[in-house]
């Protein structure tokens, strides 16, 4: 059972570069989320999606974009990376039956 997978595991970006963080789930969940975790803090919601073609902003969406063309995939795009985006990024999907969010292993991003 793969669950929620994320790639890459770790990436270093230079200021101004762009990249896409990949997230895939194989549980047929409609709801998917992107969170970021800054040092010493809990997770904060960046964007979420309630199904293919439907996305919306969370608490900290500035500097990010998302798309949801399929149920399985929910990529997060960083445009013009800034040092403030240095963080660990988690993707999650929601199980409606058990009312639980399952998380991927995270992507650690360092912007220098």
């Amino acid at each position: 059972n793969a669950g929620v997978t994320q790639t890459p595991k770790f990436r270093i970006l230079k200021i101004g570069q762009s990249m896409t963080l990949q997230c895939t789930q194989d549980m047929n969940h409609n709801y998917m989320y992107w969170y970021r975790q800054d040092p010493g803090m809990g997770l904060k919601l960046i964007y979420y999606s309630v199904g293919a073609g439907i996305t919306d902003k969370g608490e900290v969406p500035n500097g990010y974009n998302v798309s949801r063309s399929t149920t399985e995939d929910f990529p997060l795009r960083l445009e013009l990376a800034a040092p403030s985006q240095t963080s660990v990024y988690f993707c999650a999907s929601r199980d409606r039956v058990w009312e639980t969010q399952y998380f991927g292993p995270g992507t650690r991003l360092l912007v220098l």
Binding site: G42, L43, L45, Y48, T100
Partner: protein
Amino acid sequence: AQTVTQSQPEMSVQEAETVTLSCTYDTSESDYYLFWYKQPPSRQMILVIRQEAYKQQNATENRFSVNFQKAAKSFSLKISDSQLGDAAMYFCAYRSGPREDGGSNYKLTFGKGTLLTVNP
């Protein structure tokens, strides 16, 4: 907006002993979910236990149990017979919205975490 507060940045416990981690939250809603997640050094977020606010009975999962006090807006986690593998950061999280209301994004609001050390 809901807030979640974990007042203990760090806790330690001896192996085989019991420890309780505190969590309080602020909300005006009556129907919601509460969770405890564990984050070991691998950074994987692992669900420990879940509590539905409309259920008065405290949730239990093997050695993990909660003390849910709805009126006091308190949701503490008790770990019994602590094991070395329990050492991790523990996050309390709040989920807004009833089970299916069609209008909620069901996002999680997290506390800042409690770092649990287990001493052999």
